[in-house]
């Protein structure tokens, strides 16, 4: 039995005692879609979080902008929160869905192939 797919898409967490910023950053790093990084001064940066290093002397994230420029490095200390605003590219591609398409004759179109645009 396939478990229902879960995604963080659309989630706008607020850091707190039960949800530290470090955890939100970890989830954003693991997220395969664009996010909105909200800085402590209120600035919002949209893009893909490609790296994070919590072990560095000054912990930081790295992100590519929505137009692909980057990566820019942002210290944890400048981040208020991260919102999961972009489409989760790892969601909705389940094997079960592919099998379903295949059984209805649609798999040959390979709708999930990436990067051919």
């Amino acid at each position: 039995m396939t478990e229902p797919e879960t995604t963080l898409e659309g989630w706008a967490p607020e850091p707190g005692p039960d949800l530290p910023l470090e955890r939100i950053i970890d989830l954003a790093f693991d997220y395969r879609g664009n996010t909105t990084v909200v800085l402590t001064d209120g600035t919002e940066l949209q893009g893909y979080v490609s790296n994070r290093n919590a072990d560095a002397g000054e912990p930081f994230i790295q992100m590519f902008d929505a137009d692909g420029a980057g990566p820019r490095t942002i210290p944890y200390s400048r981040i208020r929160t991260i919102k999961f605003t972009g489409r989760d590219t790892a969601a909705g591609n389940s094997y079960a869905l592919w099998r379903g398409r295949r059984e209805t004759g649609g798999a040959g179109r390979d709708e999930r192939a990436r990067g051919e645009r």
Binding site: R32, N53, A107, R114
Partner: protein, 340 residues
């Protein structure tokens, strides 16, 4: 075994040099990912799920060559994404061959015939097309989620062989793989004339769509023991015999995550080709500042518990061959007798 003598000697000499220098950790194969774009979306792949602006990006040839120099590994494997979609793949391969690297271009071969006809590559003992084929036609097309891909790949292989290129195959096996069908597949590949085959169990990428069909350790041993028992003399594998014996349950190795370091758009991937725990800005940073004790089976890391993939364990097997008399004698014995 089918690794050409010159390549085997180059790798052996490299490993011995590392040992003489007292290097505890050294790379064997650089996994160079110049792009994440792919013309397939396989159920077991967790490599291509990125937003559009990331998929449009690619490394420059110069960035690739800098990584190759930094790393120093004698073998460069170019996966991706699909490397034949990289616009400068011809120049990149030329530069790597000129530097004396052994290049494995890992491709689904959909575009192979077209690229060969365009004259993009020159045959060389240093270049092998490593064609992704997960088994016979039905199994492969199911694995890559598109019908007709097996036939396209075989057509590409035939064209490459006709033009004098080295061609190997690379098969990732999942739950449900049939030992008998795989033995038939090995026969097919030998009939086709490929130089050698590589086989490995799949890894359960957290981002891969298909999470149900990855092999667990005991199932891996069972599958490979049945598949490789009494191997036919004509079968040739382009990998360490000790690694194959490890898959069959005849050895219990620990992972060598630094053996196949990975470089891509984001930097040097920590800790290995399969796990993405962060990126280092340089190869030195990767080697010196990764907390290696967190990875491998003995670490207790759940992500490593069932992993038996070649990118982690083939380097261990090669180190065993050149690091112990027992390993060397065993490797020679298997190579000479063909008995796994």
């Amino acid at each position: 075994m089918s690794v050409p003598a010159a390549q085997m000697w180059a790798v052996a000499a490299y490993v011995l040099r590392q040992k003489l220098r007292g290097r505890r950790r050294y790379p064997l194969v650089l996994m160079l990912e110049p792009l994440f774009r792919c013309n397939l979306a396989c159920a077991g792949c967790g490599k291509i799920q990125y937003p559009a602006q990331i998929l449009r990006k690619q490394l420059s040839v110069e960035q690739c060559l800098r990584a190759v120099e930094e790393c120093g590994a004698p073998i460069v494997s170019i996966p991706g994404g699909e490397p034949l979609m990289y616009p400068e793949i011809g120049r990149l391969v030329d530069e790597l061959v000129r530097r004396g690297k052994y290049v494995y271009l890992c491709t689904n071969a959909i575009q192979l015939k077209e690229k060969l006809e365009a004259g993009l590559f020159t045959p060389s003992g240093h270049l092998s097309f490593s064609v992704h084929l997960d088994g016979p036609r039905a199994e492969h097309d199911e694995s890559v989620c598109r019908e007709g891909v097996y036939d396209q790949a075989v057509e590409g292989i035939r064209e490459a062989l006709r033009r004098g290129f080295r061609v190997t195959t690379n098969s990732t096996l999942f739950e449900g793989a049939s030992p008998l069908r795989m033995r038939e597949f090995f026969d097919e590949m030998m009939d086709l004339g490929v130089e050698g085959m590589m086989v490995s169990p799949g890894y359960s990428y957290s981002k891969a769509p298909d999470q149900e069909h990855f092999l667990r350790k005991s199932r891996t041993h069972e599958l490979f023991a049945r598949m490789l028992s009494k191997p036919k003399w004509r079968w040739r594998f382009n990998q360490s015999p000790l690694f194959l014996r490890f898959l069959m349950g005849k050895h219990d190795y620990e992972c060598t995550p630094w053996g196949n370091p990975t470089f891509n758009l984001f930097g040097w991937q920590r800790p290995c080709y399969l796990l993405q725990e962060g990126y280092a800005h340089s190869f030195q940073d990767l080697m010196e500042n990764t907390r290696w004790e967190r990875y491998g089976r003995k670490s207790g890391n759940a992500k490593c518990r069932d992993c038996m993939v070649h990118c982690g364990f083939e380097a261990t097997a090669v180190n065993e061959t050149f690091g112990s008399l027992r390993g060397f004698v065993e490797t020679v014995a298997v190579t000479v007798t063909g008995r796994l």
